[in-house]
């Protein structure tokens, strides 16, 4: 008995050390970036790397002034939030309809929606670019909102569909018996019960839109550029400004990494279209 227990403890210790070691190794670039953001430029490129230094906030001030951080951040917030809200407004009714009034065609329709995700972005780039050019939408937030909405719509419909399917039909039927209209049914029954699903779907799509880089780089250059675009302007002269780059990176990813942590469970269902639970 005692040998078994001690053996178990040894394996636990090994596993704990291994797991923490791997996790810290993978997380290391982000920790290091966090440190560098508070160094001066000279400290940032010191060899060997400094771990003890007097933190400075100067980088954040410079990034703010020089690269219009506020403008880019505002573009990121607007495009990701508006596209998410718009997507929910289109996806929720569709998911509701498929979950509560399924027909023979529902499964086929869901799979077809999934298949629209397989159009590689680069395959759609030229037509979209030319159409938006004709419409005068290049480098506008509207263009990015349209793209992000369409990009996430299939994921939203799928996630909401799986959430709505878990709501018992009897509750809706009872409401209908009492003479509730479609709107009342939605407002007083579906919304309170489905709010969790709506929230996590929204969070995941917010993350995906915030981090989107292909369309943001190709369609939004100056005026509509998101934080993903702003970062590219830091790729120039050989990383001479690595401390400032770190500060900018930190400001670009911190909000969304935190949101990501909260939505990690939903991420699995959302990104695998319910195939893995």
């Amino acid at each position: 008995m005692s040998t078994k227990k001690s053996k178990w403890t040894t394996s636990l210790i090994v596993r704990t050390i291994a797991a923490w070691g791997i996790a810290l190794l993978l997380f290391f670039p982000l920790i290091f970036m966090g440190f560098t953001a508070f160094k001066t430029e000279l400290q940032a490129i010191a060899v060997p790397s400094l771990w003890a230094f007097e933190p400075t906030l100067e980088n954040f001030h410079v990034v703010n002034e020089r690269s219009d951080y506020v403008q880019f951040a505002w573009n990121s917030v607007v495009t990701s939030v508006v596209s998410t809200v718009l997507g929910l407004l289109i996806a929720a009714p569709a998911a509701y309809s498929m979950a509560f009034s399924p027909t023979k065609g529902t499964n086929g329709l869901l799979l077809w929606m999934l298949s629209t995700k397989f159009m590689p972005a680069v395959g759609a780039l030229l037509p979209i670019y030319i159409i938006f050019q004709q419409l005068g939408l290049l480098d506008t937030k509207t263009a990015l909102v349209i793209i992000f909405t369409m990009m996430n719509l299939p994921i939203m419909v799928w996630m909401l569909y799986t959430y709505f399917k878990d709501i018992p039909h009897e509750i809706l039927e009872a409401a209908r018996m009492d003479g509730a209209s479609v709107w009342q049914e939605f407002r007083h029954v579906l919304l309170p019960l489905g709010i969790g699903g709506l929230a996590s779907t929204g969070l995941l799509c917010l993350v995906l839109a915030w981090n989107e880089a292909f369309w943001a780089l190709n369609l939004g250059a100056a005026d509509a550029g998101t934080l993903a675009t702003m970062m590219v302007s830091y790729s120039s002269p050989e990383g001479l400004f690595w401390a400032k780059l770190s500060a900018a990176s930190l400001m670009a990813i911190a909000p969304i990494v935190v949101i990501g942590w909260f939505s990690q469970k939903q991420l699995v269902q959302g990104l695998t279209f319910g195939a893995v639970k």
Binding site: L12, W20, L24, F28, P29, T36, V47, P127, A213, V257
Partner: protein, 292 residues
């Protein structure tokens, strides 16, 4: 009765239509236009040349030596990243499947790279990890007495693979971890009672259970990785030469740098075909899941 059933069908359809119509437009219009562009002469630098091109654009694309390189690089990038992330993700998922102190925190740390935007990911690796002078890897190499590697110059494609694997390893790990949690514990315990060793448990219990999630991970990664762009755009610009040019970057280059829409569209058609070969399998698996 009949009017009621008609109206009860009408409202669900009405609710469904915005999503269906917008997605239909989103899919059909770009696809049709891409195929159309690929069949005409359409170069922004030569506006006087126009008309039907037949297979000319495809021929031009295929005979371009960069195209063969790009296809090869796309496949190498895909296969290596998928192999690294699935094998690594599986190992980590099995490692942290049983409880240990700080498991929740480890989970958060592990998943974080997935939420880093591709441009930050690329810059992080380019300047902080892979810089041959002050980069972290150079310091590690020097510490062990090796000459630091100039990663992006000498091993451009491998460097890109490293960056993308860092981002997608957490994804594979998270999915496999979630799937492991739903395994039947009693069966596992019964197997242990019968004296099954770790390898036997892995081979006959874990692996069959994980077969489907692994295939889902592979296919979703394939869909996303076929279009890797920002990492290449930010770090190597496809170079040196075409050493790190993939299909997505080549099409971008043809279109927005050489302004040849026709040829670029022919390349895009190849990208679409490639993606759809994978998609067919994914739809089958998920479709089976729906019918359960």
């Amino acid at each position: 009765m009949s009017s009621q059933s008609r109206s009860s069908r009408f409202i669900p359809r009405l609710l469904l239509s915005p999503a269906v119509i917008t997605l239909l437009i989103w899919m059909v219009v770009p696809l049709a236009l891409t195929i159309y562009f690929s069949s005409i002469f359409y170069n922004l630098m030569q506006p006087d040349v126009s008309g039907f091109a037949g297979w000319m654009n495809y021929e031009f694309m295929i005979t371009n030596p960069a195209f063969t390189d790009a296809i090869w690089n796309t496949l190498v990038l895909l296969a290596s990243t998928v192999a690294i992330t699935v094998i690594g993700g599986l190992a980590i998922a099995l490692l942290i499947n049983e409880a240990f102190p700080g498991r929740g925190m480890v989970r958060l740390l592990l998943i974080s790279p997935f939420f880093v935007m591709p441009t930050v990911n690329a810059l992080l690796w380019k300047h902080m990890m892979m810089n041959p002078i002050y980069g972290v890897l150079a310091q590690v190499w020097t510490f062990f007495g090796f000459t630091p590697i100039n990663w992006l110059q000498d091993l451009p494609l491998f460097s890109i693979i490293l960056m993308i694997s860092w981002q997608w390893l957490p994804f594979a790990c998270l999915i496999l971890m979630t799937s492991l949690q739903s395994m039947d514990r009693e069966q596992l315990e019964a197997a242990e009672m019968d004296g099954a060793n770790y390898w036997q448990k892995f081979r006959y219990m874990y692996l069959p259970h994980l077969a489907r999630p692994i295939s889902v991970v592979i296919m979703i990664e394939v869909i996303f990785l076929l279009s890797v762009f920002a990492e290449i755009f930010t770090t190597t610009n496809g170079g040196p030469g075409t050493q790190s040019t993939n299909l997505a970057y080549l099409i971008f280059n043809e279109a927005l740098q050489s302004f040849d829409i026709g040829v670029a569209s022919a390349g895009a058609v190849f990208a679409i075909i490639l993606a759809n070969i994978v998609a067919i399998f994914l739809v089958r698996i998920i479709g089976k899941n729906l019918e359960k």
